[in-house]
Symmetry: C2
């Protein structure tokens, strides 16, 4: 649905156009989401089960079926530090590809932490603060989420403790220093500060850690301290909810551009940036108001939506988190060390999984070298250096644009550029030097891991 | 001149408000700028002397006295990748300082290269391309300018060769990789690719290099190849001219805010970001239309405006560049290794120097630890992590805000946040660990260096 229009590069909105409410897709779903189960009893869990970990406002958002959930003024004021984020028309990328397609991207790298993660970190920090919480415990792998939560803690006056996977802690000091500059306390996980961490270290003193271990440490920290709650950066309903500001703004900006997208693309690990852009558009589809092609771009090394099963599974390796129905490769499955650390997750958010099951979205998986090629092409055309995660979306967007060239059609493509790659240049160096590896889909490992699904 | 107004955080402009012309302060100067002299003959140089290094369009801009110089459409289109840049009201910093002052900052870190440098890099790339130049040779110290020129080369289809000071090349690989991702060729200087580099290496095989040496290599490269010109990132009149988009936009944005600044602050090394913000305001002063207090913030380790002499001196260590009249600490003076690499320069742009001499601007010098303290305060309040260079402007802005608190006055403060610090986190780590050093003003070294001023 292309429109001639003038050559405009960016569509910017004043801060009074920051959305006043998040969009809750639960209100429009065709199928009710299967309930999360208690990891011990396998019975549906209620708000009380989650109270040690989350403030009540977030627990209620997790289960709400209201279509709109108001964004409190202090959160909108904090959003104004970087929102509304710009929507770009990628004129130079289109020219480089010699395509009649119109390519648009929403750019979330303008946030101080450099990705979409602050959209929920600020919201979570606010609701915790409002309920008297003094301190947040959380985990981080490569550091995107930890940076966002540290920034949000500085904004709302909360102490933040980040359990950072030991391997990243040692190899990626810049992200750690950024968190510390925001005032957070960062410790390598496994650490000596939790029972779980001590137990791991007693057995494996040189453990490189894993996201699963770090989650366990942060959960233990929060569950054992009255002043502390836990925060998670993806997967959960309320996290995806907070990210819908991305899509709500994009709808207004596409209207400014006088076009509607034919295809909407986001990379998907836990699902939060994908959901943030697409849910408001999918809502229109669910309400019969519009029709779009929606594509989740996954890494070939962790293709939960494209190759996993839709089943009840644990969200964490330690089997302490609720059991949820989702697309999964098995909670014991550990993806190969691709540089898109944010996409190295065995499962997928239950809401995104349900939409895939209901046929509202498609998924495709891509290899990391092709993604970095797409990232370099993008950087040379548009200037912005993308993080490894959104290069997956860029790769699929470029494929769409080339397909449109073959078909000779003015396809309108919209994707989410969820963060910049300023802390990922070591990966670009490896790519430019030709030493980056592709990892084939590990069918056997997945088969093994899926054999251990919980019987519910 | 404060105004109550509503609580707005950002003032954004649509891309059709990108200025259509640069502001040339030469049109309004009270004193004519002393002519640059040939380094060999000590005679005034003309356009022909510069032709081997620069395209004629830039040489004409260098000597123009037209008040407005039109920005070509392709440059405005490239600017649209990140301009107009936002103007922020620092509500959270004001609250943290408990000051009645209103603090505004113009944020240039939104450019793909992360600083104000692309404002001139894109312009220089365009004018070179227009005159058939195929290749640009340039130097870079810490890498801000090299990144900007590499980005600009990618945008306008020019090959870029960057001579990067060896010490930075080894210690700051991320900036190098960013340049390479944009497609530039980066070589450690001194290199084996120039006569000058080979001569240095023959004498000192393990030379860590210096900005002076790297300039000499880039100049030799450009002067000895027909397809190549040279590009410089600060100091020269045409470079400062291109940066005036910053101040022109800021004037429009301050009008949106309904306020006029009382004090305007920029950090100053070669002078380009300082000039970019302040020249359009100083132009109003020169024309008798307004009155502002204008402050250049210098590092105590290289305080050319505050402690140097106003005299004819060489711009480079190798004494190959024109001799210009400026505030200088002597071309043999090598500043201590402060982290604000962009401020480690012995001289100051001739135009900024002249304005200081004519009493239109003030200058003050600050120590780096106090600047990093200011940077951390700023990051925790406003989210954005500043580069070490603009922490000098932040420090002076905070001092102004605290002074306003003492005086109980609603002083309106505007400063230039010329870049982010995503590639400078090692310096923040040292600061947070308390191992950063302050360097006293090196009076003796300066006295020695000034004894070697050219006799003209």
């Amino acid at each position: 649905m292309a429109n001639a229009g003038s050559r405009r590069t960016k569509f910017v909105l004043d801060e009074d156009r920051i959305p006043r409410a998040w969009y809750n897709i639960a209100a429009d779903l065709r199928t009710a989401p299967p309930p999360p189960l208690h990891p011990g009893t396998h019975q549906p869990i209620g708000p009380a089960d989650l109270a040690p970990l989350f403030p009540m406002a977030l627990i209620l958002q997790e289960v709400s079926t209201d279509r709109e959930i108001e964004i409190p003024d202090p959160v909108r004021e904090a959003y104004a530090l970087y929102r509304p984020s710009p929507l770009y028309r990628a004129h130079r990328l289109e020219a480089a590809l010699d395509t009649p397609a119109h390519i648009y991207y929403k750019y979330e790298g303008v946030s101080p932490a450099g990705s979409h993660k602050p959209n929920t970190a600020l919201s979570q920090a606010f609701f915790n603060k409002q309920e008297g919480v003094k301190r947040i415990a959380t985990e981080t792998g490569a550091g995107q989420w930890g940076s966002a939560m540290s920034f949000a803690g500085a904004v709302f006056g909360l102490e933040v403790k980040v359990y950072m996977v030991r391997a990243s802690y040692d190899q990626k000091p810049y992200r750690r220093i950024l968190m510390e500059t925001y005032g957070a306390e960062v410790v390598a996980s496994p650490s000596l500060t939790t029972n779980y961490g001590r137990a791991v270290l007693a057995q494996t003193p040189d453990s490189p850690g894993s996201l699963g271990m770090a989650i366990s440490e942060a959960v233990e920290d929060a569950a054992t301290r009255d002043d502390t709650k836990y925060a998670l950066g993806s997967v959960l309903n309320h996290v995806l909810l907070h990210q819908t500001v991305i899509g709500l703004e994009a709808q207004e900006q596409m209207a400014m551009a006088g076009e509607q997208p034919d295809v909407i693309i986001g990379c998907a690990g836990g699902g939060s940036n994908f959901a943030g852009l697409t849910f408001p558009f999918i809502g229109q589809m669910l309400r019969g108001e519009a029709s779009y092609r929606i594509i989740a771009a996954e890494p070939e090394a962790a293709p939960s939506l494209t190759r996993g099963v839709y089943a009840y599974d644990f969200g964490d390796t330690g089997h302490m988190a609720p059991i949820v129905k989702m697309h999964t490769l098995g909670s014991d499955f550990i993806p190969e060390p691709i540089h898109a650390g944010g996409l190295r997750y065995h499962g997928m958010s239950p809401l995104v999984s349900l939409l895939k099951e209901d046929g509202l979205i498609e998924a495709t998986s891509v290899h990391q070298r092709a993604c970095f090629d797409a990232g370099v092409t993008f950087a040379r055309a548009e200037g912005i250096l993308p993080a490894p995660e959104p290069t997956h979306a860029i790769k699929v967007a470029i494929d769409q644009a080339l397909e449109a060239r073959e078909a000779g059609e003015e396809r309108v493509i919209l994707f989410n550029l969820c963060g910049h790659g300023h802390f990922d240049l070591a990966a670009y160096e490896r790519h430019l030097a030709g030493t980056l590896e592709d990892y084939e889909y590990p069918a056997e490992k997945v088969t093994e891991a899926l054999a251990a699904l919980p019987r519910v």
